[in-house]
Symmetry: D2
Subunit: 311 residues, 4 copies
Amino acid sequence: MQDVDIQTILDDIRQQTEAFGDRGNVADYIPELAKIDPARFGMSVRLVSGEVFETGDAGAAFSIQSISKLFTLTLALGKLGTGLWARVGREPSGTAFNSIVQLEYEHGIPRNPFINAGAIVVSDVILAGHRPREAIGEILRFVRFLADDPDILIDREVARSETETGFRNYALASYMRSFGNLDHDPALTLGVYFHQCAIAMTCRQLAAAGLYLANDGVSPLTGGRVVAPERARRINALMLMCGHYDGSGDFAFRVGLPAKSGVGGGILAIVPGKASVAVWSPGLDRNGNSQLGTWALEQLARRTGWNVFSG
Amino acid sequence: MQDVDIQTILDDIRQQTEAFGDRGNVADYIPELAKIDPARFGMSVRLVSGEVFETGDAGAAFSIQSISKLFTLTLALGKLGTGLWARVGREPSGTAFNSIVQLEYEHGIPRNPFINAGAIVVSDVILAGHRPREAIGEILRFVRFLADDPDILIDREVARSETETGFRNYALASYMRSFGNLDHDPALTLGVYFHQCAIAMTCRQLAAAGLYLANDGVSPLTGGRVVAPERARRINALMLMCGHYDGSGDFAFRVGLPAKSGVGGGILAIVPGKASVAVWSPGLDRNGNSQLGTWALEQLARRTGWNVFSG
Amino acid sequence: MQDVDIQTILDDIRQQTEAFGDRGNVADYIPELAKIDPARFGMSVRLVSGEVFETGDAGAAFSIQSISKLFTLTLALGKLGTGLWARVGREPSGTAFNSIVQLEYEHGIPRNPFINAGAIVVSDVILAGHRPREAIGEILRFVRFLADDPDILIDREVARSETETGFRNYALASYMRSFGNLDHDPALTLGVYFHQCAIAMTCRQLAAAGLYLANDGVSPLTGGRVVAPERARRINALMLMCGHYDGSGDFAFRVGLPAKSGVGGGILAIVPGKASVAVWSPGLDRNGNSQLGTWALEQLARRTGWNVFSG
Amino acid sequence: MQDVDIQTILDDIRQQTEAFGDRGNVADYIPELAKIDPARFGMSVRLVSGEVFETGDAGAAFSIQSISKLFTLTLALGKLGTGLWARVGREPSGTAFNSIVQLEYEHGIPRNPFINAGAIVVSDVILAGHRPREAIGEILRFVRFLADDPDILIDREVARSETETGFRNYALASYMRSFGNLDHDPALTLGVYFHQCAIAMTCRQLAAAGLYLANDGVSPLTGGRVVAPERARRINALMLMCGHYDGSGDFAFRVGLPAKSGVGGGILAIVPGKASVAVWSPGLDRNGNSQLGTWALEQLARRTGWNVFSG
């Protein structure tokens, strides 16, 4: 695989996306997200070796939404270690990202840290001993550190929009609180959660931020260790199993890479040992994952041979 | 990684298993299986390069049970191609291996080919145009071909035992039939299904039979192509996502390899590009997966560095 | 309330039904039932005092289907007494008449004897110690005795039709068998169940057969006691709570009488202390209950003041 | 039935309760309720004709909790009429009183007005156009009017206790809000709901307050019409179908009267045309209904012949 090839592949992919009639539907349950132009498309590939390849709107910031769950999980594991798994499971959910049914059957323990309920517990862990403002600041600093970019910001309008309309998340949080699996007032924990989801990043920044997971836990940007090799491997496993909600099986089948999606239309995918890839296309499929983003990663994986399931 | 190392690792693992107090419970819902000695333990590693490493009862035959679903899936994909996915999903189930709840909510379409309902549909595909006896024969010949071993047999006592007591599988089959997702009389399709589950194999044979999945679809034993590279990759993805029922997430987290378990206590794991590994220990955990077998694979993966999630 | 009034009410009701555009849909999952003319309508009121009032097709035989569950429950309680309640619950199901979900959550114990699963258990109780043919004969003789009419028959075509297509009932029976809540081979128990459902009766016969429930357990036709007063009262309670599947609440709200419906379009309603009422209109609502039959009973209850909830 | 008999029956019942070893468990999820002495027992029967019979602690106030749902339903029907049924169903739930599962499957529409979710919607209707304080005042005035007793109060400690710990109700309210089935901020609607549940009444007051439902909608105390006869009948039907959560079928089977229970240990039962009965015993069964209260009503119904299912 030559460098020139990756650039060619990215450009081909971007060009082909222009012909797509059905790009899925932009998330409309968060009013601020509904305003995004569905024609935007960007992609960024950052190799462990340092090279970067981009196409389209790779430099445009978008709301990372649930991709933030990857970063907060990393943070929370740093605070609580394996103790986190007493409060959150590690199994695919078999249900929609915001389902509350499973919580009733499993007594307030979310199935994994990437569905909403699980990520709210993770935020609750980060909030411990802090005020929401401080916890939000810590998350933002961590993301800036991972991306090696001090200019990453939270979109306050998006955060406000979710705070005002996120009743389903209030329900999840209150419900877990009733089982004793939330240590703070739901409004406080959700304050953290809504703000982390409202972080705005570009594909370029996202690919950079995820690179430690492709490099056994060490960021090639700074040379600093973020997590132990085993933890990097396990986070990748969780991403593959649960990173696309109830479409995770289909994503593994088609793309074959650990990845985390967000309803803002972004996906961050990890090629262990090789690269970190971010893609953005706002239109979503019925599971809430970027429709063209998934297709683009499928093309990339096919043409590069990047997938974890072949020799 | 030297060859001598693998043998040492296997011997270490076997030795350590002897100290285990809790080996889980032998499956008792199939009377024939309940008779197995829980102290048995075997493991076989077969490299793509041809080398074989073994320990313990690697040459003892046991009931492969649900590991057969891997071979019948391969067969059915050969017959029906991607058309199979109209009748079976590709998502983790989020429920027990024999749950019927999901079938009601999803109108008779099983979530994946590795839960019982999905495997019954796969058997129904193989049965098309044949009598049960012929379909069973075809499956057995295919498994013998994969393992390059004509001596593999079906344990008639186990098959009879399941036929007489498998009411839950009759329920699943009848239920799917009511939705039109079974083409044959449930008793006929289950005749195939119960016999495939009753195939008896050794760890040695199983590791051989799975090797095509570690070698992009070509069996290193015979040099023959079994499936296209993409299909091998996709079957591996399905194994990782769904191969351990509702414990698949935990297995991916701990072991990080595509694998399929059976209630006979066997597990077949694939190391893409490198090896096929079979392990057998009859005691099961609460999800119905071999308790020591999982632990043994975890040790092997840790000491060899074999997992799909690190660089 | 004068006798002449009831006849007038019945004639008014029948006349008004002629104007109805939407009569619901005739059951089509049983091929034989799908052939019935949806325009048929009959109604019969039999007072405890002996008087009979009729309108329309009150003398036309139709498939009583689930109304038979009332008679088999009475029989099975006679055999097993309150021991029956160890195998069947007494609560409304909150789900469709043929749902299997509840059985998984409640370990094979159906919620009540009027959903399919519950009625299959009841048939299983009646089958004990007999061959299916004998059990079917006993049920038929009991219904003839209740209706004081030796000419009631089983429609063999309907029974055959259900036997060939009733896969969902096979699923329910096999599933309960897997939990040990069925004492016979599912095919045997379902042989009884399908034949009881295929009993053909007229509104006239049905109203007669139900009269013991309006008369504290004694049949006014023969003067013979069928059940103790307390048992009659309790069967009425079960009818009100569970007699219309997941439309039982709506029926109680609108009509306010204990009643049991069947997918053949019949409903048998009890006015404690006063009368037994049978109505037949083949078109069903979305819960599987006769649409016009329910409306007709609502009119009758309103104009006569017959309901159990007012003073 | 002579008046003296009822008094004798009540005294017998009270005396027999003293021998009971297992009185169930006092509700402990509301701290204030957990303090109640489980040995308390009171019962009051008020005939439509005006006579009153009492035993035990009939004059002791307790937290009526969910019995309040009966009064708020009556109020809300007065405001919204049958339009209420677009927001709340009329079917038994088949699940626990505080289950959230059904809300997900049925898109935010609670199954009936007597489970928590349904009662919260009812409170939301009463809140329309008011501040919570005003709505609470209206409910309290209505209950005082029904009981013809200006001394009924809200227990502020209980209300505060629920406000601080009622996370599951916050979850239900937020969840319905996410489906658009709540018009106010969950905290406001729950402010009303928690206060109505905290109304403290004696058996004497409760029996008086319920009497309009036994008298076709007219209060015999004041002679004033509360609701139309049809509405009284329909509320009774709802009580019978849904008044005891997932124990409603059992209650109908054993007692045979429309009734509403509360986790404070009270039950209000209606004998159409004859009487209103209140009983109080704080120990609850597994469905959250008063264990001895149910038993006491069963005895009363048996000895008086008061039940709606016999002639």
